[in-house]
Symmetry: C2
Subunit: 160 residues, 2 copies
């Protein structure tokens, strides 16, 4: 990696891989969740994630590069943590509180990465790409807020 453009393309591939992993994980999390609102939140976010994958594909197109992921160790670890919750939770309330927390850790990873992509796209004079990343970042922040509200309103209370 020789310059910011190389870093940008590498991170784009990393995030593309991450979103694909999230697309696979969310239906399992929705299936495992017991609280109907949490189930719905995961399903809605899965639909949003499809749009986020499309935005990444648009950026690959802008750069005349094939949309291709590169293995992202961070998302693998984050998804493994969610799987661990699904394996080890011995009560539905515990499952929900743990899954919700895992999902928020994933959201935060994405927030960090889209924040970086926005900054790098700005530096590389790619305002259209930055706009696409901003749309996704807003969705991630809103998804995180929704989960926080759901945690304090019901999920954590039921698990306590």
């Amino acid at each position: 990696m020789k310059d910011l453009n190389d870093l940008f393309v590498h991170l784009l591939k990393d995030v593309y891989y991450a979103e694909k992993q999230i697309l696979k994980a969310l239906p399992k999390m929705a299936k495992a969740a017991q609280t109907p609102e949490l189930k719905k939140a995961f399903e809605t976010h899965r639909e949003e994630t499809e749009g986020q994958v499309e935005r990444l594909q648009q950026v690959f197109e802008m750069m005349n590069k094939p949309a291709r992921g590169v293995k992202c160790d961070a998302i693998e670890g984050l998804v493994d943590e969610a799987k661990e919750v699904m394996d080890e939770a011995e009560a539905p309330e515990v499952m929900d509180a743990g899954l919700l927390a895992s999902a928020q850790a994933v959201e935060h990873y994405e927030m960090a990465r889209y924040g970086t992509l926005i900054a790098w796209a700005g530096q590389l004079k790619m305002p259209e790409a930055a706009k696409l990343f901003e749309a996704t970042l807003t969705e991630e922040k809103n998804a995180d807020k929704l989960l926080s509200a759901l945690a304090s309103r019901s999920v954590n209370r039921k698990a306590a």
Copy 2:
């Protein structure tokens, strides 16, 4: 894991392990960083992280449990991404932009986890623990803001 208390203890151990990994990674990142301000930011954050480890130890003490970590796949993945940057960056400016971004991904992981610990401590009626986590969360948010400012002011510009 049968209840929120079990989840809380598990996450406490997870974050304790993560902070220890971060303590090991930051000196390497400080050594690799070229921009003096970035080097300094990593060094300062290493000192802060020592205090954060102590706060976690205080919470273990409150619960009469030995301070012990449990392997956290997410932080392993995040630290691996920082190592990848150190291995693959072919120019000092690229190194700095990549390391800074990796550090922000780590900060965001911690923000998510301390946010959850605060919520769970509240639910479990552990206000003293919540206060300790809040002090750490504030440090993490400030560290992240400092890195964002540093990125836009100098690091990303130099890499472009």
